[in-house]
Symmetry: C2
Subunit: 243 residues, 2 copies
Amino acid sequence: MSHQPSAAMLVIGNEILSGKTRDANVQFIGESLANMGIVLAEARVIRDDHQTIIEAVRDYSHRYDYVFTTGGIGPTHDDITAAAVAAAFATDLEINPAAAELIGGDPDHPRMKMAQIPVGATLIENSVSRAPGFQIENVFVLAGVPSIAQAMFAALSARLQRGQAIVSANADVFMKESDIAVPLTSIASANGDVEIGSYPFSRDGTYGANLVVRGTDADRVDAVMNEVVSAMSALGGEVVRRA
Amino acid sequence: MSHQPSAAMLVIGNEILSGKTRDANVQFIGESLANMGIVLAEARVIRDDHQTIIEAVRDYSHRYDYVFTTGGIGPTHDDITAAAVAAAFATDLEINPAAAELIGGDPDHPRMKMAQIPVGATLIENSVSRAPGFQIENVFVLAGVPSIAQAMFAALSARLQRGQAIVSANADVFMKESDIAVPLTSIASANGDVEIGSYPFSRDGTYGANLVVRGTDADRVDAVMNEVVSAMSALGGEVVRRA
């Protein structure tokens, strides 16, 4: 799985860590990146704390090709992401004229806080509620509300260098994971060019595992999945290959 | 908000980062800890990679009072959490007799991989599917399947030192965040002993914000929420205080 840019994600917000809100952005961005051949290597959920955001942004910006942040760019006192990202790159916030025009209305209105963008940043369009996100160096700063984060991701995706897309094949096996572990391990060992995952489930009292083969070569993924399905069928269990 | 133990969480699994699965454990554990007066300070989602897990466990174990991991303790080849946590504490895995008895059956069966527990660890009961989690030093190692993670958390919670519980008050304001930012900021500045969060929403085309006041003193939380509600009503917007 070579030739794939790397990415990391910072989910910024006390409300995720207190359990008030369940994050939806890691799943969406992780899946979108995978479809573009970009590997989401890691994600962190951090508090709305100035110094914590600065350190996390710097760390990820050095270590990964792309960094995505979600949360903390609204107009209220607890929205501190833009100022922290500016500080991480040793720059200041300024009223961005294009952002101010997008937001519109009275320049003294508190919503103009959302036009304060780090010097040198490029805007990211928000087709849902206008106030833009922004990109500074390799860091993309998005809203936390999932519908807005998704619109912003769509607007920025043309800026990302795609890698070799990851192809996957999927099958449900209606046996306990421990009963399939031995053949699965030997297939995984013999096919190091693909990744084989086993994800247990329980549906209506029936135990099983969803098996996933992932790789960049569609023929190899298909061949290894065929091998998996044969091995599972040989154990006498029901196997349903998914589309 | 003093006298509160700190915690961090490691969500271990490629399937979360690829978007295949949406994590549910951060929300559950974050909320459960908050109810016990323990602050979830940070969470990381990392890949099923031996060295990555070792480094993350060591880092968090030093920096926080409690660490919770979810994922990667099943019987298949991609379940590598137990071995990595053992390595993080420079110890080995061994067949734990109590775990083997809980799991039951043939000692040569592959499910016995789940009885391999770091030397010196204490088991955590699994009332859903028997194979236990474990605690080593301040690190609690739980399954990734949410129903099992929740059962394990219930089984271990008596081992945690509770802090001052965090009390919260909640109100929905049917105005745009930018229209409430000014009074909200001055109330937040004047009441540094509580935390005020503003979380925008859009429901059926209506914009609003959910305002949350959090703190350890119930009377102060209530008083500040009353102040918030009065200020919002004075702006002419609809305010609905939630139970």
